[in-house]
Symmetry: C2
Subunit: 441 residues, 2 copies
């Protein structure tokens, strides 16, 4: 490429940002007693001044490892030409996830995979900003070939081929403007988990449920799996408040063995949960299938800890799940995420992305809107999780009105944080942490 | 516990040790073009001066992340009482792998899981030294209850229960001294991968195969998957040298899609490989099952990248593999490893542990010897991989004679490195790396 036209990435910076959420037991569940919602925050800059940011959501300790993992990919990012990336972003994605030495540490899972995702998503943010569009519109406006060219079919071609994906996307192309208009008019349905953390009292649960319903969030998910009598009582409270026509969802955060899950869930069937989320280990495809085959009248959901498209392929094609809850920060960025949506669409599974934490709602809204416009072309029954924590730290926070995510309008991927937040919550030397840790921890 | 009897762990140190193996293309295969065999090296010390060491094998970049991940578990290790650990090592193991904030980064996979494994294995090393026994003998001499108490049945109780495990171990108890004597007399069978790296010429392959056979290593594994014509030619060379009665094994290091694997392997069937290793993604249980069902006369092997007991459970119980190749450093230490051997024994699968790299042969010999004495009680057809690289760096290196690993005799887990090695190969400031990196990399 002509040197005058090149626009190389010349800077990569990571920041360890943590919020002391454990102090209030926000986010407490059967597996996660005391999360400090955190972000390994990534910024990249090109020689011509283009900028992008990405983040990896974690729950506290180990956030430094994600920053360090991104730093370990510096040789793969710096020097990459932004103009070349825009013509073939898959090549950039593939270079990051294929470094043979780093790959040993996964492969394609855990910290190393999340680091690829954060970096790739920073590039998507930069690209969307350069085009003056939110990420979901950047992808909505691509040609079908360009769009499918962003996906990763490695190790999943036995479930879906590039040609099949292209056929699905092309079939939707003529009608996409109608769906874009609908999103811009009415947004995308949301459900909330804010009321249901295990650490909350019955009174707080009742009050937060009523608040949510008053704000139009009538579908509610609560945490279960600590104590069966507590679960029965809490399910009854929620069902009383939301009524019979709204969805109660329950989330066990991996606490059960396979057989234990079946026995426990039978006790909760009277409250007609729409789905049970994470009944057991997120790695156990065949265990989920066994649970799904053994319970009645309740769908099985998982995915927030599902490590990559290869495990999702198995969950989906073997009929082990009904609801696919992919996480924007656990997979290797938008490229891999699109592949999972595509496999789910082919096999008729609903995708309801995991959100909450910090930044996940901001990311997730783009993902499901892209899916609606280009892949599944369906929105009924689908919802994006919503938790109303920590959005005040974002320059362009998600906006949920009357139970729906409004379509993002600002350029980028919506995860840019305010400079004041980056300063105050930097771990361990931001003002927030200096005062907490200084007191003797 | 009486304070006078306590013996707390008061020091934890990690070292980033790397060997510049990529310079000679030792270890090159279809997925790993240029590994620098490395070890995140861990030492722990108690207040009374007990010491243990462990290591996590990696192939270069990212070795620092493993060290850092172990450092992130400092709060879980320091202050733990060695006397209490010896009465319930499972509680120590469980504390390390259950830290809720760190667990988010797996769960139970990748860097965070490997860090648990390195730390837990350091404690096993310390315990065995305190008893004056090699690790395999420490476990050989335990009561059946104590031995089974070291295993981790979380998320695998649908495949095997503690009671079933105890029954298997008790059945073998009366005859264990015979098997101990046999190991001390004749060792445990080995096979070698040293001749077969993809980066080696035909002449070097031929010479190294002949050398191996001359040393009694008549079963040989080679790398495949780069170019089909090369593979055919190389399989022919090896078969010529080892003859029809020895085992040729082939290893594709994950290069193929499921369908591609089946087509390629049919071309190699004429050379009668005993097994095909890692034909596709190590996460793809159902893909391996499909491959296994579609090829004839060749077993399917995988496991060196298998992340935890939960994935192994699925591989084994769904008949997706024949040969289980667990890796001593990828799982969360000896406790989880014993569980995998136990599941394999119940379902009649052979375990042939992955070795090579640096330190893996040293670890693996203990594992299979424990299995033979206490779990499967079988040795026929089973082999431990052997690669003759880098053993000179260990104080008590494995010893392979006439195609068999001799039983370790020195106290501990055999992975202690010489102080001079730790000094010279420390990255990036040891003498070996200063001279290489100083030249301008």
């Amino acid at each position: 490429m002509d040197k005058a036209l090149s626009n190389k990435i010349i800077d990569l910076t990571t920041r360890d940002i943590r919020f002391p959420t454990s102090a209030r037991r926000d986010g407490s569940d059967a597996a996660n007693a005391d999360p400090d919602y955190s972000a390994a925050y990534i910024t990249i800059t090109t020689e011509k001044g283009d900028r992008g940011c990405g983040l990896i959501f974690t729950i506290g300790r180990g956030n430094n490892l994600c920053c360090q993992a991104v730093e370990n990919m510096r040789h793969l990012v710096l020097g990459s030409d932004f103009e070349a990336i825009k013509t073939d972003i898959s090549a950039f994605y593939d270079r990051l996830r294929s470094d043979s030495q780093l790959r040993w540490l996964g492969p394609e899972k855990g910290i190393i995979h999340m680091a690829v995702g954060g970096s790739v998503n920073a590039v998507w943010d930069m690209w969307a900003r350069a085009e003056g569009k939110p990420v979901w519109r950047l992808l909505a406006d691509m040609s079908a070939e360009e769009f499918v060219g962003c996906m990763d079919f490695r190790y999943v071609s036995d479930a879906i081929t590039r040609d099949e994906a292209l056929e699905i996307v092309e079939r939707n192309t003529a009608t996409r403007t109608e769906r874009i208009a609908r999103l811009e008019r009415g947004g995308y349905p949301a459900y909330t988990t804010s009321p249901g953390w295990l650490g909350y009292s019955d009174a707080k649960l009742r009050r937060l449920c009523a608040d949510a319903v008053a704000r139009g969030l009538r579908h509610i998910k609560i945490k279960v799996g600590g104590d069966l009598r507590d679960d029965v009582r809490r399910c009854r409270i929620v069902r009383e408040i939301i009524g019979a026509d709204s969805r109660l969802m329950i989330d066990a955060n991996q606490v059960w063995e396979v057989g234990e899950a079946v026995a426990w869930l039978r006790e909760l069937e009277p409250f007609s949960p729409w789905f049970i989320e994470e009944p057991t280990s997120p790695d156990d495809v065949l265990g989920h299938r066994e649970i799904r085959n053994s319970i009645n009248g309740m769908k099985v959901a998982t995915g927030e800890h599902c490590q990559n498209r290869i495990l999702f392929k198995q969950f989906i094609t073997s009929q082990a799940v009904d609801i696919v809850q992919l996480d924007a920060c656990r997979l290797a960025g938008l490229n891999e995420i699109l592949t999972v949506y595509m496999i789910a669409a082919k096999y008729g599974k609903l995708v309801c992305p995991h959100a909450g934490g910090v930044g996940l709602c901001e990311y997730a809204q783009h993902l499901s809107m892209i899916d609606y416009v280009r892949i599944s072309a369906e929105i009924d029954e689908r919802m994006i999780e919503y938790v109303d924590h920590l959005h005040e730290h974002f320059v362009d926070p998600c906006r949920v009105r009357e139970g729906a995510y409004l379509a993002p309008e600002a350029p980028g991927f919506s995860v840019e944080m305010f400079a004041s937040t980056l300063e105050r919550y930097r771990y361990p030397d931001g003002a927030e942490w200096r005062s907490r840790l200084g007191g003797g921890d």
